[in-house]
Amino acid sequence: MGYRVIEEYLRQGQNVARTMGIPSPGGAPADDGLQNRMGAMLRSFTDFASLWMELMGRMGAGGAASAPGVTPPVGTAGPFPAGAAPAAPEPPKAVAPAPQVVPEPQAVVPLALTLDLDSPRRVEVSLELRPRSSTLPLVVHDLRAPEPDKPRITGVGLECLSEEERVILHLQVPEAHPPGVYSGLIVDERTGLPRGTLTVRIPPR
């Protein structure tokens, strides 16, 4: 599926480039088409950014799915108690079980989050952050909606308190900001590599 999303992302980009490069009959770009494509491309970008994060997370986490606070897999839940062959004949010789393949448990330190939200209205905040990010200097890109005419949410800050394994998210949403879903990448300032995404949804009034 990853490849398909990436291909779609590239295709959308090519389409946009093509549209921009071909003048419309009136000499001006076809605004509606371009806007739609820009919107679609931005949505693709949002998906692609998430996908990228997933892939990065996968590389870092050794492939195990992550769910906050969930025990890492041990690969068994014990036998079924009912009818589990209490009197089943034993094999002729004792069975020496082969060593089980147990994936390496992953040490995940829980990360605390403090949300410093300044908003006169209700918003939903969704933060995805790769493990072991709290020690890094992180910056959050401006949050953008898929619709290009909507203003960005700017000035988002992410402060890391490595000794407490805590991050503090500073977010300000002006009252007049239009409803929608706004997303931005969280990147490591030193390397420029993505470490997570921040999504804010402003529901309609």
Partner: protein, 721 residues
């Protein structure tokens, strides 16, 4: 056909995967570009699906085979095969695929009540629209969100079935839940319900379930936290309502176990972010399925209940065949269950109307012969030889330079062995080779050559196929358990192959068949013919196969036929190498059968035991019994007239889907070796579970890797989440 020399394809192994690959590569559309030869151990095709006609033409299988209604690839090919075969219904009773496969709606589980004792839990699975393998009828590619929404729909339907009439007007299942409209409205309704905790009535819970269905089915991005909190509130309300009721009511407890499981699946799907994870279900394959359900809130009763247990039984999902080690990768387990329950067409199960060899492999053999495929029987692969790295020219890729075989028997006159026998107009496979066709056949028969036995290494010669001379491309389609034995050099040289054989484990299986003089109702089974799983060890699965009686040639047809199967506890590798091993295992399975009939079968067939207790051995029909033959064995010894098998040959071992193992599988699309591809249900084929469908998918993928056809999107399920 073009003037170019055809590409010679060596298909090694004539099971489902090998047949699918050969079928695809010899389609008329290829215009003879591929010249296929199938190399097969012994005298018959089929691999784990091989069957044979024994005394009284009775059908003897490797195990119990049922085709599931979601086997889209397998049904597509077999339907095309029958269409091409054009058998005359006037002369052949199985002329069309609908003669060969019959919908089987009635199924059951053996349920262990907390108060003790087994009881059958039966259900008639409703027929779904369409037929499996329908041509030109696109199978929807379901997303995980679709599956979760469907799970909630099922939960809602099950809750509806236990609606107490006294509690008021039954809620309308079809009613659109409040708040449906825009996605925002759905979320607002959910937030509002959550805020006020309005789950006091069952109607509210049903409405809440409906809201979640809509949310999962329509939202483009999922506010997972809200959904999760909402789900937990709904689940808590349901648990509270059911907790007391299920203590005393088995029927309700069973329904609750399914509801509870589905709630855990939805919860896990949200919690593990499967809806947006690009890996789909694969993301949780390091977990065992029950372990994952437990992590997501399923109760102990549920993960140990009949339903979950049957899912393990159906795929022999016991590591080392040990019932104390039920293990299956969670992602594949869920994928399998979702595909099985939500995407079947026509019927949940389809039952074959003869042996699997006769219904599946004889038609494939006949069609492929017509297309010009050659069959080299009695060829046992010994090694796949790679070209030495130092001999590779610059830029040349690693490849197979030779395939080494032991030739087990030569055919008189040097022609091709004719493997089929005629059973009243139906081409079938026999249980033993036709020795008359073999050079010194009489001696081979007298000396008891066991052509399918891994332990009988006798041969009449060897044969080396060389690349460029005898073959261009090889498709390795042997059983997964055989790889360490037939690919020694590959395993030694290539770390990925080594990891694959170490991690992708297989397990032996056991099966037996009974032919009885009393019908099922006389034995105390009063319900229609059924397939039951989740029963005791050593045989947890039973299918009533009485419909096959007319297919066999008994002077006095049996009134009932029953098939049983299960995994067989494994023994260490060094034990398995002893020459006496297969005989010991055969005897071990016989003892299991006798013990099972004496001790356990009475739970399903209350009248199978005599007045003084113990199994009524006189029920068993002996195919060799005749007035001339003298007295037949009586008592327990009469069991020797029935059929049982210990599937301990490496090629017969069943491939497991253990947690953490699936990433070690090799793909048929892997092109590490220029002229070698793999096929079998042990490969990474998009449905990584031992079954006919996986084998056929892998065979189609192998064909795609060589010819580009079929297109990947035609291989249903390959790109499903």
């Amino acid at each position: 056909m073009s003037n170019e020399r055809p590409i010679d394809i060596a298909v090694i192994g004539g099971g489902c995967a090998g047949m699918a690959a050969a079928f695809e590569l010899t389609r008329p559309e290829h215009q003879g570009r591929y010249r296929v030869t199938v190399y097969q151990l012994g005298w018959r095709l089929g691999g784990k699906g091989a069957s044979g006609r024994g005394p009284a033409d009775r059908i003897q299988e490797h195990g119990l085979h049922l085709w599931m209604g979601f086997y889209e690839n397998a049904f597509r090919l077999i339907r095309e095969c029958y269409a091409e075969l054009q058998r005359d219904p006037a002369t052949c009773r199985i002329a069309d695929w609908r003669d060969a496969f019959v919908p089987d709606h009635f199924n059951g589980l053996a349920d262990w009540s907390p108060r003790g004792g087994w009881s059958p839990w039966t259900a008639r699975m409703p027929p779904f629209e369409g037929l499996p393998g329908d041509p030109g009828n696109e199978v929807p590619r379901w997303s995980i969100a679709d599956y979760l929404a469907r799970s909630l729909e099922l939960v809602r339907a099950l809750v509806m079935t236990v609606w107490e009439p006294a509690s008021g007007t039954a809620p309308d299942a079809q009613r659109v839940p409040a708040g449906v409209g825009t996605p925002e409205a759905v979320l607002e309704s959910m937030s509002s319900l959550l805020k006020y905790g309005q789950f006091a009535t069952l109607a509210a819970v049903l409405e809440a379930l409906g809201l979640m269905e809509v949310a999962l089915g329509t939202l483009r991005r999922y506010p997972e936290n809200l959904l999760l909190r909402f789900h937990d509130a709904v689940a808590a309300a349901l648990r509270e309502r059911f907790a007391k009721l299920i203590e005393t009511d088995d029927q309700l407890r069973r329904l609750w176990e399914i509801i509870d499981m589905m709630l855990a699946v939805v919860r896990g799907g949200l919690r593990f972010r499967l809806l947006t994870d690009p890996r789909g279900f694969d993301a949780i394959d390091d977990y065992d399925c029950r372990e994952w359900l437990r992590l997501n809130g399923a109760s102990e009763g549920t993960i140990n209940g009949a339903f979950v247990r049957a899912l393990y039984d159906l795929t022999f999902a016991y590591e080392d065949g040990d019932v104390k080690k039920p293990r299956v990768a969670a992602g594949q387990g869920l994928r399998g269950a979702f595909r099985a329950f939500f995407t079947y067409r026509g019927a949940f199960f389809w039952k074959m109307q003869s042996g699997m060899g006769d219904v599946v492999f004889a038609p494939f053999y006949e069609v492929l012969k017509r297309r010009g495929v050659r069959f080299a029987f009695f060829h046992r692969l010994e090694d796949v030889r790679l070209v030495a790295p130092e001999r590779l020219a610059p830029g040349e890729r690693p490849h197979v330079e030779a395939l080494e075989f032991d030739v087990q028997a030569e055919v008189v006159g040097g022609g091709e062995y004719q493997p089929l026998v005629d059973v009243r107009g139906l081409p079938c496979w026999p249980v033993a080779p036709d020795y008359r066709q073999l050079v010194e056949g009489e001696r081979l028969e007298r000396e008891g050559w066991q052509f399918e036995s891994h332990w009988d290494r006798r041969k009449v010669g060897t044969r080396t196929l060389r690349v460029g001379e005898d073959f261009d491309v090889a498709i390795l389609a042997v059983g997964g358990g055989a790889i360490p034995h037939v690919c020694k050099q590959l395993v030694e040289r290539d770390s990925r192959w080594r990891a694959m054989v170490e991690r992708v484990k297989t397990v032996p299986t056991q099966a037996f068949q009974l032919w009885m003089s009393a019908n099922m109702s006389e034995l105390g089974w009063t319900e229609p013919p059924i397939n039951v799983s989740g029963f005791v060890e050593p045989f947890d699965t039973w299918a009533d196969m009485s419909h096959l009686a007319s297919e066999e040639s008994w002077s006095q047809p049996p009134a009932a036929i029953a098939y049983f199967c299960n995994a067989l506890p494994d023994v260490p590798e060094e034990e398995r190498q002893r020459p006496a091993f297969p005989h010991e295992q055969h005897e071990r399975v016989r003892r299991n059968c006798v013990q099972f009939l004496e001790r356990d079968i009475v739970h399903l067939w209350p009248r199978a035991h005599g007045d003084s207790g113990g199994f009524r051995w006189d029920l068993l029909q002996d195919a060799r019994e005749s007035p001339e033959a003298g007295a037949s064995p009586q008592g327990e010894a009469r069991f020797s007239s029935q059929y049982w098998t210990a599937n301990v040959n490496p090629t017969d071992r069943y491939t497991l889907s253990l947690p953490g193992s699936l990433k070690f599988r090799l793909s048929p699309l892997d092109n590490t070796y220029d002229n070698l591809t793999v096929a079998g249900d042990w490969t990474d084929c998009g449905f990584n579970q031992g079954c006919v469908e996986a084998a056929v998918m892998s065979g189609r993928l192998a064909a795609h890797s060589i010819s580009g056809a079929p297109r990947l999107e035609e291989i249903v399920g390959f790109d499903h989440p």
